[in-house]
């Protein structure tokens, strides 16, 4: 019982039980629980037993849904995922799992890698913009994240198991982004990568009245100087590393002209940057095929125009790896899936759209060896959907973090709804 009250105080009041592997009871009803303290005493030992069972690195858990989302984004039927020690041990055809005790997930269900939200402000407190220095590679987005933030809970429940937050792209170099799990245990952020890709930007957001640059001309002038120094190894070590091909980076270019400017200034180094872009992705698509790094587009909303909405599909058709931004918390928590659904409506291949919420963002964040795909060796951050995650009427039946069922608690399952 002592274990439970802190979570409630932190706002995790609706069924998130990060510590309990298989939740028998919901924290949501903790008041009810207190009233029945006697009952709790009886239940507590059973909890303890389950926890030890699952935390034991040897224990094996087998999840079997009707479909799984494969690393290539396609859906594969009747597949079981064997999880051991929080990681995916193997992937088996349903017929081959007889030796294990299987936990069936229900009809029509789809197991998907946990969704990854790129460059939103999930969990960030206040501004993520630090505008005093136009080149500020030492700023760290991780410092802005509040592990108790209620957005984390909302994100987790909508299937976003990890998020990447960057410093606001208001500087030429804004600092390093951070990749973390949306499940914060006991107020401790579960950081997957602290010094994620260094954030560069070209565009109107960088011009400020109070400091140089104040215009596109000034901006490009400064950028050229920076590139020149970095290539000579005279810039900040973090920036030098990027230009020496030893560190990854992203570049925010909101408009087509910003991409063009970036290409001019960065030359053959452009291929090392993941581009964050949306407005003119359609024009970009025809020229972007030589890029080895992904392009990040979105968030798409219902009022986005046709040109924008066509961008993701065209980029993807031209062989570019596309990742989505969902825009949460300024967009609703389904924002990432809304973006994907809209992209598919406008011609994107469904498999590419599923990759754009999972594998590709993991690659942008540089954590693809740990999360983003249902593959042996990956950590078992999984979301169970009642149907295809691209369908907005699919509901979230369960969220697993490192193989531990985190949402919803077992007795809340009925209210989770979905197709019967």
């Amino acid at each position: 019982m002592g274990m439970m009250i802190p979570y409630n105080r932190y706002g995790l009041d609706q069924g998130i039980r990060p510590d309990a592997p298989v939740c028998r009871t919901s924290l949501f009803q903790w008041i009810h629980w207190l009233a029945m303290a006697g009952l709790l005493v009886i239940q507590f030992p059973s909890h303890g037993m389950e926890a030890t069972e699952s935390e034991n690195p040897g224990s094996i858990q087998v999840l079997q849904a009707d479909w799984i989302v494969q690393p290539d984004g396609t859906l594969k039927p009747d597949t079981a995922i064997v999880i051991q020690g929080g990681k995916i041990r193997e992937i088996l055809a349903a017929a081959d799992v007889k030796e294990y005790e299987v936990c069936p997930m229900g009809k029509g269900t789809v197991l998907c890698p946990g969704l990854i939200d790129l460059f939103g402000t999930v969990g960030a407190v206040g501004q993520t913009a630090e505008m005093a220095h136009v080149v500020d590679p030492d700023a760290r987005a991780v410092d802005a994240i509040d592990p108790y933030h209620k957005d984390l809970v909302a994100a987790l429940r909508s299937g976003i198991t990890s998020a990447v937050v960057s410093p606001a792209p208001n500087n030429l170099v804004s600092g390093t982004s951070v990749c973390f799990r949306t499940l914060a245990k006991e107020g401790k952020l579960d950081i997957l990568r602290k010094n994620g890709p260094l954030v560069f930007s070209i565009g109107e957001s960088v011009w400020q009245r109070e400091r140089i640059p104040t215009s596109r001309i000034g901006l490009l002038d400064q950028m050229r100087t920076l590139v020149h120094r970095a290539q000579a190894g005279e810039a900040h070590p973090g920036i030098n590393a990027v230009f020496a091909g030893q560190a990854d980076a992203v570049i925010f270019c909101e408009q087509g002209q910003d991409v063009a400017a970036a290409r001019d200034v960065l030359g053959d180094r452009m291929g090392q940057f993941a581009v964050v872009h949306s407005q003119d992705a359609m024009d970009l698509a025809t020229k972007a095929s030589q890029w080895s790094r992904p392009v990040v587009v979105g968030p798409y909303t219902f009022s986005s125009n046709r040109r924008e909405l066509l961008g993701a599909g065209l980029l993807s058709k031209n062989g570019v790896d596309v990742a989505f931004r969902g825009g949460f918390p300024n967009a609703p928590p389904e924002g990432l899936r809304i973006t994907a659904a809209l992209a598919v409506r406008f011609g994107m291949d469904p498999a590419a759209a599923r990759r754009a919420m999972t594998v590709i963002p993991a690659r942008v964040a540089g954590v693809e060896d740990r999360i983003g795909a249902i593959e042996p060796g990956q950590e078992a951050d999984l979301v169970l959907f009642s149907g295809d995650p691209l369908r907005l009427d699919s509901t979230i039946r369960a969220v697993f973090i490192q193989g531990v069922r985190t949402y919803p608690a077992a007795n809340q399952e009925s209210s989770a709804g979905g197709e019967q």
Binding site: A154, F302, S303, R391, D393
Partner: protein, 497 residues
């Protein structure tokens, strides 16, 4: 199966050709008379389709026959009419056209947004509709939408009347699109939930005043009707008396009467009542007075003066007579409670729109059986600076649990949002834990608008407004192949063979 039916029943080619030529001739002759043209227009039979009638049936390998602008038959074993133009749906799915129950489609700027205040009941949304916004129409057809409730915008207070439009063509006026199915479909009121508290109070007060004015206006009009009746009665008597009496006697009597009428004239004629309506409060008038028409000098009763018409109040009166529903846009719980009070005070039928915090007052809404129309759920967020800080992700679910019927529209904030009404319905279904999203934007939407016997289902006699999809309409990878509105093909997917 179906093609064989066709073959079996079709007459010999020569005969068919003759009939065709004859019929075509008739069409040419009769064309100027629309009714005739419709009767003789060539029927269209959509076959090889999975038909979701939204009336409880799912027909595999079905056929849908259009005659004129309506559906004449739907089913699996239908013999297509003679000379019908056959369209192969290629195994695609046919559903009724989707309906957005709160839209701004065709309005580049919202009709009522320019001036604030209240008192624009006479503003009609349909007047702002651009019938030639062809590109916008193609966009919505691309996503299967064929009908909308056009909102009159959201200026604070009474914002005007909305209209229901079908995106059907008017054959003689190509590329004109948009046939009004119902003008004055609802009176829209915005309680300005997004404004500061004082502005919200003022708005509510202004709306209440208009309803009170309408009641007063009704009294004035009723009094006038009574006065007219009395006048007619007296006029009859007067004519009768004129016939009986001689001219001399008349004049004597008239003089006496004139004096009498002068003394009773004050304060009870209709013009003075109108003055009360305009300036003074309702208490200053004298309600129970016996009215008597004025008389001229010769004793002839004078016709009562007709009070000035108030078109705004005429429309508000329709809501009080329950001939016109009211749609109240309110997000905050306190505004919703105010709306409930307003509806109780003036007893009109109403629908709650917006409704971000409706789950807090779900019980009250359920008790009054008030339906709720959510705006686009894809727009709402739980961001921390949200003005509707208590808005809930699962409002729809909580309303369902309380027994409040709810619907989802695109929110009438941006014309472009109407495109994605099906996605809105899907989000709503996911958040409410059930329901058929497709039904929500077809049959249920039509019922919500009170036009469930004309659109929203595929049944004989209903308007032939439907969509041919390449597969499951709710799968994002599905494409719209064809759209029919008013029995005519208004959209066809470019790559469709």
């Amino acid at each position: 199966m179906v093609p064989r039916h066709i073959r079996r029943t079709a007459p010999s080619p020569a005969l068919a050709r003759m009939i065709a030529i004859g019929l075509a001739g008739c069409c040419v002759i009769m064309a100027p008379v629309p009714g005739w043209a419709q009767l003789l227009s060539r029927p269209v039979a959509i076959h090889n389709a999975r038909i979701l009638t939204m009336d409880g049936d799912e027909i595999h390998n079905g056929m849908l026959v259009i005659q004129g602008e309506t559906i004449s038959a739907v089913g699996s074993h239908i013999v297509p009419p003679l000379l019908a133009q056959k369209v192969d749906a290629q195994g695609g799915t046919v559903t009724p056209g989707l309906i957005d129950v709160a839209s701004l489609l065709g309005c580049s700027s919202p009709p009522g947004s320019s001036s604030g205040g209240s008192g624009q009941a006479v503003q009609r949304a349909e007047d702002a509709f651009d019938h030639y916004a062809t590109l916008d129409f193609i966009e919505v057809f691309h996503h299967g939408v064929t009908a909308i409730y056009l909102s009159p915008g959201r200026s604070p207070g009474i914002c005007g009347t909305g209209a229901i439009l079908r995106l059907a063509p008017d054959p003689g006026r190509d590329p004109f699109l948009g046939i009004v199915l119902r003008s004055e479909a609802a009176l829209a009121i915005n309680l300005a939930s997004t404004s500061q508290p004082v502005a919200r109070l003022k708005t509510l007060a202004a709306v209440r005043k208009q309803f009170r004015d309408a009641l007063e206006y009704r009294k004035v009009m009723e009094d006038y009707q009574e006065d007219v009746a009395e006048y007619q009665k007296q006029l009859k008597e007067w004519h009768a008396s004129q016939e009986k009496k001689g001219v001399g006697k008349d004049q004597e009597e008239n003089q006496g009467r004139t004096q009498e009428s002068d003394t009773t004239k004050e304060g009870k004629t209709t013009p003075s009542r109108m003055a009360a309506l305009e300036g003074k409060t309702a208490d200053e008038k004298s309600p129970g007075e016996k009215k008597e028409p004025d008389k001229g000098k010769d004793g002839k009763p004078q016709k009562p003066q007709r009070p000035e018409r108030k078109p705004d109040l005429d429309i508000v009166l329709k809501t009080l007579d329950r001939k016109l529903p009211v749609r109240i846009l309110a997000h905050r719980s306190e505004d919703i409670l105010n709306a409930i009070d307003l509806a109780e005070e003036f007893s009109f039928d109403w629908i709650l729109e917006g409704a971000s915090e409706s789950h807090l007052v779900a019980k009250e809404l359920a008790a009054l059986k008030v339906p709720v129309i959510f705006g686009s759920l894809a727009q709402s967020s739980i961001r921390r600076d949200d003005i509707f800080r208590r808005s809930s992700m699962n409002s729809p679910q909580q309303l369902s649990e309380a027994g409040v019927p709810w619907f989802v529209g695109s929110g009438a904030e941006n014309p472009a949002n109407t495109r994605f009404i099906a996605l809105d319905a899907q989000i709503a279904a996911a958040r409410s834990g059930g329901g058929n999203p497709l039904e929500a934007v077809t049959a249920r939407a039509a019922d919500a608008l009170g036009v469930g016997q004309q659109i929203g289902r595929l049944k004989p006699g209903f308007f032939a407004d439907f969509v041919v999809w390449s597969g499951d309409p709710l799968d994002p990878a599905t494409k719209v192949r064809r759209v029919y509105a008013g029995g005519r093909q208004v959209y066809r997917q470019p790559s469709d063979p």
